[in-house]
Symmetry: C2
Subunit: 349 residues, 2 copies
């Protein structure tokens, strides 16, 4: 199902053995944060050659140039050459930033990603998008480059808090909404705790690989994957520095999917019954936390900076129907405000 | 002679007209430094669409992350999207750093390079190597990516100080030494002021394109182009913060070529008469400025960090004979010290 680059396995040891069998890296680094160092590194460290450990502080707010400088600095200190390898062991932040640092260190060293959260397993594991945040804009600086290998092992999900599992599930829901009505019908019958994660990961990776393969540099169809993200990213960024109120990526994307489903009804033919079906299931899994109206202006400002725009037009990915997305639907800043107000009134009902 | 990507021309206007004819960029930026803003921008600015001017302070010592942040910041402020273009108008620093910023902004926007120094015309114009310095190491952070177009117009050389012209000439000399005995015989008959620059640029671009085409990611033969650079880069870095004493890139490479020719006699079969011929011509053009012995240790340290190394072995590109280079000759730090002492005693004679 997955390409040679992505391996879904419950036998980490064999996959790593095979990988290192005919490769002669001069040095190996493992990038972790304080969480994956504790929960995930013990499952990996005896399966790989002698290595340097680079540990960074977890969290999207550290996905910036300053952390990159400390990663590049560690590689420099260890005299890493171009024939060395970086293993990114963690969630999306570790994969995106570690990949970016590897892809730019001495103009590029090899790296492999071992995503340890559901979110990074179903989403960040495919597509070669690497990057960091800059001046408050998500993934503003980065490159496209595929890892040598992505290893997805559901064993890491056991240590994952429920809130993180739910966050990853948002992307799995998205993959159904844009590409697979039948699978949507299946998952939307179940709560979070009865889902089959191996199936869901396999499905998500397959949907994403299929879309990415036809459009590696996001010129067209790949934008399907942005459903929920135009508005969702802006919500996530706006709430980034709000401490307790902070939203996980998938929690923000869940709200973004409701807003963009509302716009899909307005712009691209989604039926009202379908909109209600989506709202109802997202409510069941995520609830409908109220957004701060005072932040709407900042969200709109962020959306105007979105990488997917062309000039001043906001290009949005919407749904024609459940199971079929459509890219490049122009929306206005007024539409965005409408959608945010629509979302907020849902929980008033 | 040059590929479709590199155009050597005396008609900048037609080339730019043709380039913009069927492209619809939403925004255009021109990156300059204070020198090219004054001497080169007037020749270009009426030939391109409305644009943002981004001006940085010239010099290798500003080719760093902090300048990148100001370039990325300017693109962000101008709401540049992925369908925008950056024009890098200047020498190697502008091309390497502007290209790196373009290649990483929103995971990559188009860029074109208009090299304005002989050095950047004969060297940096081909090969897609982009990058910045980091913690004192040259081009330590970067990527490989080709510009949409490189335009080389000798008109820019008219405003170039003689010292800069000579610096660029070092790379042209290198291209003869590694690949073309006949051309070496021709240029080494002439002083700097009687060289035919259009011919020399054409030859250098052709030699470099030929080598790069077979090895875009510097896994093998491309290392031929590193002749003179293993030791030359270290000398250049060591002298970077020495004010008046500072060496231009080509001046450092000229010294590096003498040192590495000396090692070629020791390791790869270069004849003593050939070594003397090389020393004699480089002396005629560049003189033999004495190196500071106190800095030798720092140079060796820098060489041990060279991107071209594999583990602890220093891999050097040397000459078999004038006109034929050879890659991956292992040398020791002791060899480097020997070569530096050899160079210094030349001017004692």
């Amino acid at each position: 199902m997955a390409s040679k680059n992505v391996q879904i396995t419950d036998d980490l040891s064999s996959v790593l053995d095979r990988f290192f069998f005919d490769r002669n890296y001069t040095q190996v680094a493992v990038l972790v944060d304080e969480n994956t160092e504790q929960a995930c590194l013990p499952l990996v460290k005896d399966l790989i050659p002698e290595h340097w450990l680079i540990s960074i502080v977890s969290g999207e707010s550290n996905k910036n140039l300053s952390t990159c400088e400390s990663i590049w600095g560690a590689l420099t200190e260890g005299s890493f050459d171009r024939h060395s390898l970086m293993i990114n062991l963690g969630g999306g932040v570790i994969g995106d930033m570690g990949g970016f640092c590897a892809a730019t260190f001495k103009r590029g060293i090899d790296f492999i990603n071992i995503p340890t959260t559901l979110l990074s397993q179903v989403d960040a594991s495919v597509g070669g998008k690497l990057g960091i945040d800059f001046q408050g804009f998500k993934n503003h600086i980065g490159v496209f480059k595929d890892p040598e290998l992505v290893i997805i092992d559901p064993v890491f999900l056991k240590s994952l808090p429920n809130k993180e599992l739910r966050s990853g599930f948002a992307e799995a829901i998205k993959h159904c909404l844009i590409a697979d009505r039948k699978r949507w019908d299946e998952i939307s019958q179940k709560n979070l705790d009865t889902q089959n994660w191996v199936d869901i990961i396999g499905h998500s990776v397959a949907v994403k690989e299929d879309i990415v393969a036809g459009d590696p540099f996001e010129k067209g169809q790949r934008k399907l994957l942005n459903f929920g993200h135009t508005i969702g990213h802006a919500i996530e960024s706006t709430y980034l520095d709000r401490g307790e109120e902070r939203l996980l990526h998938g929690e923000a994307i869940a709200i973004g999917m409701i807003c963009e489903s509302y716009l899909s009804k307005k712009k691209s033919g989604l039926q009202e019954t379908e909109l209600n079906e989506i709202v109802s299931y997202i409510n069941r899994i995520f609830g409908l936390p109220q957004l701060d109206k005072e932040a709407f202006e900042e969200m709109v400002e962020l959306i105007s900076q979105d990488k997917k725009n062309q000039g001043k037009v906001i290009n949005c990915t919407l749904l024609k129907t459940i199971g079929e997305g459509v890219v490049n639907i122009p929306i206005s800043t007024g539409d965005v405000i409408d959608a945010l107000f629509y979302y907020n009134q849902l929980s008033d009902k």
